[in-house]
C-alpha cells in the first residue's frame, strides 16, 4: 500500500503531455483497413502472428497522410515508437523507426502512455518477478539492479508482488501460444519505454511535477480574473525591443557559443553525463592550475564571462597587479561581497569600503565621476545591500571598455592561451562504459572547497594589506 492520502501542498501532477492525444488519434487512423497502413503476418517457428507492419510502410503512410517530406516523417515515426504506441520486433531496445523492412506492431491501448499516472514501481516489480519465474537469469544487468532496489524499497509488499506475479503468469498461460507471444512482446515494449535501459533517451522524461492538475478545468472566479488582469497590465508596461534587434542578439550569441554548447558540439574529453567519466569536471575545476583551451577562449567572449569564471578572475588579477591598477577589481569584488553577504555585516563592510576606496585620499581610491560618487557617499550613511550598485556598474563598464581589451592583448593572456590544455576525446567501448558506470564516485565535498577558498581569501587579504615599512626594513637589515 502506498500512502496516497497526503493533504500537503507539494507538487504531485505530471505536466501536460498534449501530444499524447494527438498521437493516439493518428494511431487510430492508421488502423483503417482501407486507408490505413498495410499489415502482413510475422512468421515464427511455432506459429504466425498477424498485424505486423514494416518501417517503410509506416513512413510512407505518415508522409502521405500528413503531407510532409521523408525526414519529417522519420521524426514523427520515431516519436511514435519512442512514446510506445508502436514497438519494434527486432532490436527491441532501440526505440527508433527504421525506414526499411524491419517489423513493428501496434501496442494495445492498455499499455499506452497516460499523462495522469506514472508507471508504478509495484507493477515493474511484478513484471520482473514474472520474468524471473518464466526463466531464471534472463534479466539484464540494469534490470537486476532495479530488482535489488525494488526488493529493498517494497520489502513490505514483497509477498504480494510474488503472489501476483505467479498468478499473472498462470493466467497468461491460459491463452493460446501466439497470443502469449504477443502479450509478452507488448509488456516488454511497455517497460522499455517506461524504465529505459541505461544510456538511452527516454521520451517520457519531463522536468518537475506541477502543483495543480493540468487536466482540471480552473474555476473562473474573481481571483482568476484578477490574476489575468494583473498579468496583462504588467505585460503592457514591460519595455519592448524591436524584433530585429533581439533576433540579431540571439544570432550573435549562438554563433559565438556554438562550439561551447555541450548539446551542439562534443565536449572534450567526453561528456560526463554520457560516459560516466568525470575528467571533464576535474579539468575544469574552480582553481585548477592550467585551464583548458575552450575555457580560455570563453574568457575572450565578454568581460562578464571572464569575471564569472574564478580561474579567469585570478588571471585578470595577475594582469592587473602587473599594471598596478588592481583597485577597480578590488572594489568590484568588495561590492559583490556586500551584495551577497550577511545582513549583519553590511554596515561594517560599508565602513571599510568607504575608508579603502571612496574617501578622498584613500589608499585605493577609485576613479568614478562626481555624481555617482556623491550618490554613493550619501547612500553609505544608511547602507543597505545595493547601495554600491551604481558605482559598481560604473567600475564594471570602465574595466570592460578599457582594461579588458588591454588584457586580451597582453602577454599574460597570450601566455595562458599557449599553456592551456586541449584534451583528446575519449573513445569508450560499451564494456568500458559499463565499467565507468560501476566506478562512479562522489565528488569533492563542497565544504572542503569552501574552506580552501576561505584560506586563499585570507592569504590574499593579508598580502594586500598595507605594508609595514618598519618590518620590511627590519627584515632587510636582518639579512645584511
Amino acid at each position: 500500500m502506498t500512502i496516497k492520502f497526503i493533504r500537503d501542498h507539494g507538487q504531485h501532477y505530471r505536466p501536460r503531455m498534449a501530444c499524447l492525444a494527438k498521437v493516439e488519434a493518428m494511431v487510430l487512423e492508421m488502423q483503417d483497413s482501407k486507408s490505413g497502413v498495410k499489415s502482413s503476418e510475422q512468421k515464427l517457428n511455432i506459429t504466425s502472428i498477424p498485424h505486423v507492419v514494416t518501417g517503410q510502410d509506416i513512413l510512407a503512410w505518415i508522409a502521405n497522410h500528413m503531407k510532409v517530406d521523408a525526414q519529417e516523417a522519420q521524426t514523427i515515426g520515431t516519436m511514435l515508437v519512442a512514446y510506445g504506441f508502436i514497438y519494434p520486433l527486432q532490436d527491441h531496445k532501440k526505440l527508433i523507426l527504421k525506414p526499411d523492412v524491419s517489423l513493428y506492431r501496434f501496442q494495445t491501448p492498455y499499455f499506452w502512455p497516460v499523462q495522469k499516472w506514472k508507471a508504478d514501481n509495484t507493477d515493474y516489480a511484478i513484471y520482473l518477478a514474472k520474468r524471473n519465474i518464466r526463466k531464471k537469469g534472463t534479466l539484464d544487468v540494469y534490470e537486476q539492479e532495479y530488482y535489488k532496489n525494488l526488493h529493498k524499497w517494497l520489502n513490505h509488499k514483497w509477498d504480494f508482488i510474488v503472489m501476483q506475479a505467479k498468478e499473472q503468469y498462470r493466467a497468461g498461460k491460459e491463452r493460446n501460444k501466439a497470443d502469449r507471444v504477443v502479450f509478452d512482446c507488448q509488456e516488454r515494449a511497455y517497460w522499455i519505454v517506461h524504465r529505459p535501459p541505461p544510456r538511452t533517451h527516454s521520451a517520457m522524461d519531463y522536468g518537475v511535477d506541477r502543483l495543480i492538475d493540468p487536466n482540471a478545468e480552473e474555476n473562473k472566479t474573481f481571483d482568476y480574473y484578477r490574476r489575468i488582469i494583473i498579468f496583462t497590465q504588467q505585460a503592457i508596461m514591460r519595455s519592448k525591443v524591436k524584433s530585429t534587434v533581439s533576433l540579431g542578439a540571439i544570432l550573435k550569441h549562438m554563433t559565438t557559443y556554438k562550439d561551447h554548447d555541450p548539446f551542439l558540439a562534443p565536449c572534450l574529453p567526453s561528456n560526463p553525463w554520457q560516459t560516466d567519466d568525470s575528467s571533464y569536471w576535474d579539468l575544469n575545476m574552480r582553481n585548477v592550475e592550467i585551464p583548458t583551451k575552450m575555457r580560455v577562449e570563453r574568457w575572450s567572449f565578454s568581460f562578464f564571462e571572464l569575471l564569472n569564471d574564478p580561474r579567469g578572475r585570478t588571471d585578470f588579477k595577475v594582469f592587473l597587479k602587473k599594471e598596478f591598477s588592481g583597485e577597480n577589481l578590488a572594489f568590484w569584488e568588495a561590492a559583490e561581497e556586500m551584495k551577497w553577504g550577511t545582513a549583519s555585516s553590511i554596515s561594517e563592510k560599508a565602513q571599510t569600503i568607504f575608508k579603502t576606496f571612496l574617501a578622498p585620499g584613500a589608499p585605493r581610491w577609485i576613479n568614478i565621476d562626481g555624481r555617482t560618487m556623491g550618490l554613493t557617499v550619501k547612500g553609505l550613511e544608511h547602507p543597505h545591500r545595493y547601495v554600491l550598485d551604481a558605482a559598481q556598474t560604473h567600475i564594471f563598464m570602465l574595466m570592460k571598455k578599457d582594461t579588458f581589451y588591454r588584457y586580451l592583448k597582453s602577454p599574460v593572456y597570450k601566455d595562458i592561451q599557449k599553456k592551456a590544455l586541449s584534451p583528446a576525446p575519449h573513445n569508450f567501448t560499451p564494456s568500458q562504459l559499463e565499467q565507468n558506470a560501476q566506478n562512479r564516485k562522489p565528488g569533492i565535498n563542497p565544504i572542503i572547497i569552501w574552506q580552501q577558498e576561505e584560506e586563499e581569501r585570507a592569504k590574499a587579504a593579508a598580502a594586500a594589506g598595507p605594508i609595514d615599512i618598519k618590518k620590511l626594513m627590519a627584515s632587510k637589515l636582518d639579512r645584511k
Binding site: M1, V27, L28, Q31, D32, S33, Q42, K43, L44, N45, I46, I49, P50, H51, L89, H92, R105, F106, Q107, T108, P109, Y110, F111, V114, W117, D120, T122, D123, N132, I133, R134, K135, K136, T138, Y147, N155, H156, K157, W158, D159, F160, M163, Q164, A165, K166, E167, Q168, Y169, R170, A171, G172, E174, R175, N176, A178, V181, V182, C185, Q186, R188
Partner: protein, 243 residues
C-alpha cells in the same frame, strides 16, 4: 486473560477464519490477475461485448471477495487479546490485502478510461480498434477466473456497483482501513526471499521471448551466418542462437 483461558473452540474458530482469509487472498490474486490479462485486450481487435461482459463478471466476483475479506480481517484485527504469531500473520494479510486492493483499483481506473475511449455501441466504432496481432479474446482467462470460489458461503447478497462507483468505493475503503486499524506498513516482514520465485515449478518447455524471436530473425534473414542454409537445419539454428 491468558491464552489458556480461551476455549479450544475459540482458537479453532480463529484459525479457521485466518485460513479462510488466506484462501481468499490467493483467490483475489487469481481474479485480479485474470482481470488484468483480459483488460489488455480492451481496445484491440479482439475487443467485443463478450469481453466486456466477462470483465464485468470478474469484477463482481472480485467485489464479493473484497467485501467479505474486509469484514473478516477487521473482525480479526479488532480483537484486543492477541497471540503473537497470529498477530504477525494477520497483519501481513492486512497489508497484502491493502496492496491488492490498490493494484486492482488502478486496473479498474484504466479499464474505465479504456471503455470510454473505445465505445462499442455503433458499427463505425469497430473500425477504430487497434490491430495488435492478438487473435483470441480473453475467454479462456475468464474461464479461469470463473473457477475461483470464495471460501465462504455467498449468502451476503450485496449488489455489485458499477465501474466508476466501484473505484470510488475502493478509495473510501482504503482510507477507512488506514484510519481504523493502526498497522504500520513497514513492520511487515515478507516470507519470500529475493530471487526466490525463480526456482520453482515453472521451468517447463516454455521458451523465453528472446529465444522465440531470435529464431524468427535468423530464419527470416536466410543468411545463416556460417552454418548451412538448409531451412530444416535445427542444429544450425541453435548454433546461431549461441552466437
Amino acid at each position: 486473560m491468558n491464552r489458556w483461558r480461551r476455549s479450544v473452540g475459540e482458537i479453532q474458530a480463529r484459525r479457521r477464519q485466518v485460513s479462510e482469509c488466506e484462501q481468499a487472498q490467493s483467490a483475489l490474486s487469481k481474479v485480479t490477475a485474470c482481470y488484468q490479462q483480459m483488460a489488455t485486450c480492451l481496445g484491440s481487435n479482439t475487443d467485443g461485448s463478450s469481453l466486456r461482459e466477462e470483465l464485468e463478471e470478474t469484477r463482481a466476483l472480485a467485489h464479493r471477495i473484497c467485501t467479505g475479506m474486509h469484514r473478516r480481517l477487521l473482525a480479526l484485527l479488532a480483537e484486543t487479546e492477541q497471540v503473537q504469531e497470529d498477530r504477525e500473520q494477520v497483519e501481513r494479510m492486512w497489508v497484502l490485502f491493502l496492496c491488492a486492493l490498490e493494484n486492482f483499483q488502478q486496473d479498474l481506473r484504466k479499464v474505465s478510461i479504456l471503455q470510454e475511449t473505445f465505445p462499442l455501441g455503433q458499427r463505425k466504432d469497430r473500425r477504430a480498434l487497434v490491430n495488435t496481432g492478438a487473435t483470441g479474446g480473453g475467454s479462456e482467462v475468464a474461464g479461469r477466473a470463473a473457477t475461483v470460489q470464495t471460501p465462504w458461503v455467498t449468502t451476503e447478497g450485496e449488489k455489485k456497483p458499477d465501474l466508476k462507483s466501484h473505484v470510488l468505493e475502493i478509495d473510501g475503503l482504503l482510507q477507512e482501513m488506514l484510519q481504523r486499524v493502526n498497522v504500520p506498513l513497514w513492520s511487515v516482514e515478507p516470507t519470500q526471499n529475493a530471487w526466490g520465485e525463480g526456482c520453482g515449478d515453472a521451468q517447463d518447455e516454455d521458451d523465453t521471448l528472446e529465444e522465440i524471436m531470435e529464431v524468427e530473425v535468423v530464419s527470416q534473414d536466410n543468411r545463416a551466418s556460417g552454418c548451412c542454409n538448409h531451412s530444416n537445419c535445427k542444429l544450425g539454428c541453435i548454433f546461431c542462437l549461441l552466437n
